[in-house]
């Protein structure tokens, strides 16, 4: 299958200096995550046909593509929540054979689509569940600073929170983990526009010094948060590079994402 548009992807490191936009000068730092030939089958469907990509440290990379192209599947496969073949390395060490909880202990952290907070547990219990790292106690203070609402509602059942509050809880519990790579899946899905603004502001603050792989349908949100982009098409990496370059090329944006830039954030 051929890459249809733009720069050939072929495992190109997102951290290449050409990606610009604040990348360190000279030598590129070693990638946090390297993925080689990632295949995923679900039932009879072959969803990912061998993904190759790298994630550079301390940058937010958006994982983009049309609906159903396999973005969430990619995150689940990275976490080991879906069976996959191929090679996944975190900081140069293979995690392919590890179970989900071991991968997380090695430094992956996950904010799922639909948030998946434990609705029967209180906010405090949801956070306590995540308090299992030496750094968690210090980080809890930061999380409460970032989301004061969570401290105010600590005795409330998480299921009774609003969508935006649940998103903050889902993000907050992940931030208690000193993770090397945050995997965030559609943090603004199903939220009202005003709440989206709030969540984006919180995400900008929370992810300032972290490495993030972000799945986001809302191109506006992706633009606000990400410096780099990886575009999936037909189960492969079709394009990768700087977010700004992607957005500058309207033809590319339309063909790869099925949306025009203007339509990305506002119109339905």
């Amino acid at each position: 299958m051929n890459v249809r548009q733009g720069r050939p992807a072929g495992g190109a490191a997102v951290s290449s200096p050409a990606a610009g936009n604040g990348a360190g000068p000279g030598e590129a730092p070693p990638p946090i995550l390297e993925v080689d030939g990632l295949h995923v089958h679900r039932g009879e469907a072959h969803i990912l046909h061998g993904l190759d990509f790298h994630i550079a440290p301390n940058r937010v990379t958006a994982l983009l593509g049309r609906n159903g192209v396999g973005k969430t599947t990619t995150l689940l496969a990275l976490l080991g929540l879906l069976p996959s073949s191929g090679e996944i390395r975190l900081e140069g060490e293979s995690v392919t054979s590890l179970s989900t909880h071991r991968r997380v202990q090695r430094g992956l952290a996950y904010v799922p689509e639909d948030r998946e907070v434990f609705s029967q547990l209180t906010v405090a219990e949801n956070l306590r569940l995540a308090m299992q790292w030496p750094e968690s106690a210090d980080r809890l203070a930061t999380v409460h600073e970032l989301f004061p609402e969570l401290e105010r509602r600590s005795a409330q059942k998480a299921g009774s929170l609003s969508g935006g509050q649940q998103q903050m809880l889902a993000l907050g519990r992940t931030l208690l983990h000193p993770a090397k790579l945050l995997l965030i899946d559609e943090p603004t899905k199903g939220l009202a526009p005003i709440v989206i603004t709030e969540v984006v502001a919180a995400l900008q603050q929370a992810t300032a010094d972290s490495t993030v792989l972000l799945v986001e349908q809302n191109l506006r949100v992706a633009e606000a948060l990400a410096t780099d982009a990886i575009v999936l098409d037909e189960g492969r990496v079709a394009w990768s590079g700087a977010m700004a370059d992607l957005l500058a090329d309207e033809e590319l944006t339309r063909s790869m994402l099925g949306v025009g830039r203007r339509a990305g954030g506002q119109e339905t």
């Binding site: 976490l79 929540l81 909880h101 434990f118 029967q120 569940l129 995540a130």
Partner: protein, 297 residues
């Protein structure tokens, strides 16, 4: 119905509820956490009841029967704990995600287990001596209540409180409650949920075995098939209460135990059991997720 009869039926019904709760709570947690229908759960019950029979009738080193009974509770509970651990680690663990195979294996264990006990101890009911105090009646609000009924009720209440405290106050309990709701998210938080699987199986085995100890006293004897028979009512309790909910299981145990006891007395033996099945059908039609269960996730 005299007050004496009413009080006796009430306490007997609640004692039966206690036995149901002990076997059903583990079943419900096992199903809630790992989607496993453990047909071998009746075996834990049988193990507890035969441990009681053996300790009470053969452990002559220990003189006082009261002390022997205490030993029976501990030994039965310990045996159930060990069996739960072994069943999970050896038989169930390698088939997670394959529900039918898990059910089939626990079914085979259940049949072979009953036959094993029958082969060892024959299918004849076995009785055993009880501490003299167990034969007494006490006056409660003017009604004469047998001590065995109060014992069953009391001990199962203590275990209910202990189980709830474990689930609500400890980190293991927190992980189990979270896992019942969403297993893969617990893993995605870096927690080894398999440890909780083993733990829940062991705790479920222990509770069911203590249920067997109390059942042996409550029904004044033990038989090999008894665990399987009572397992069927435990299933009904679990479905009515809502899969995975300990509180729901407790509530449904009381409902089923009392219904069975009162209707059997008022309408004739067997009719109470039928009413309980009707309750199950009604629950499914009106509220398929059970009294305190969550809607299908």
């Amino acid at each position: 119905m005299t007050f004496q009869t009413f009080a006796l039926l009430l306490v007997t019904g609640l004692g039966l509820s206690g036995v149901y709760f002990l076997i059903a709570s583990g079943l419900s947690l096992i199903f809630g956490l790992m989607d496993v229908l453990n047909l071998a759960h009746g075996l834990f019950f049988t193990a507890g009841s035969y441990a009681t029979w053996w300790v009470m009738s053969s452990l002559e080193v220990v003189g006082p029967l009261g002390l022997r009974f205490a030993i029976a509770v501990v030994a039965g509970g310990g045996l159930g704990l060990a069996m739960g651990y072994v069943v999970e680690r050896v038989f169930v663990r390698r088939f997670y995600g394959d529900h039918v195979t898990q059910i089939l294996i626990t079914l085979g264990l259940s049949l072979a287990g009953v036959a094993l006990v029958g082969g060892w101890f024959t299918y004849d009911p076995r009785t055993f001596p009880l501490p003299e105090a167990f034969g007494n009646v006490v006056m409660v609000a003017g009604a004469r209540i047998p001590v065995t009924r109060l014992l069953t009720l009391g001990l199962s209440l203590v275990l209910l409180v202990a189980l709830l405290a474990f689930l609500r106050r400890t980190r293991h309990g927190l992980v189990i409650r979270a896992g019942v709701e969403n297993r893969s998210m617990v893993q995605a938080m870096g927690i080894d949920v398999q440890k909780s699987f083993t733990l829940v199986f062991a705790i479920g085995g222990m509770l069911a075995a203590i249920g067997g100890v109390l059942g042996a006293v409550f029904f004044a004897g033990v038989t090999p098939e008894f665990g399987l028979n009572i397992l069927i009512f435990a299933f009904i309790v679990v479905v009515i209460g809502g899969l995975g909910s300990v509180e729901g299981t407790a509530l449904a145990s009381v409902l089923v135990g009392l219904t069975q006891q009162f209707v059997n007395y008022l309408a004739g033996a067997g009719i109470g059991d039928l009413t309980v099945v009707a309750l199950l059908a009604g629950t499914l039609l009106i509220r398929p997720q059970g009294l305190l269960g969550e809607a299908v996730r």
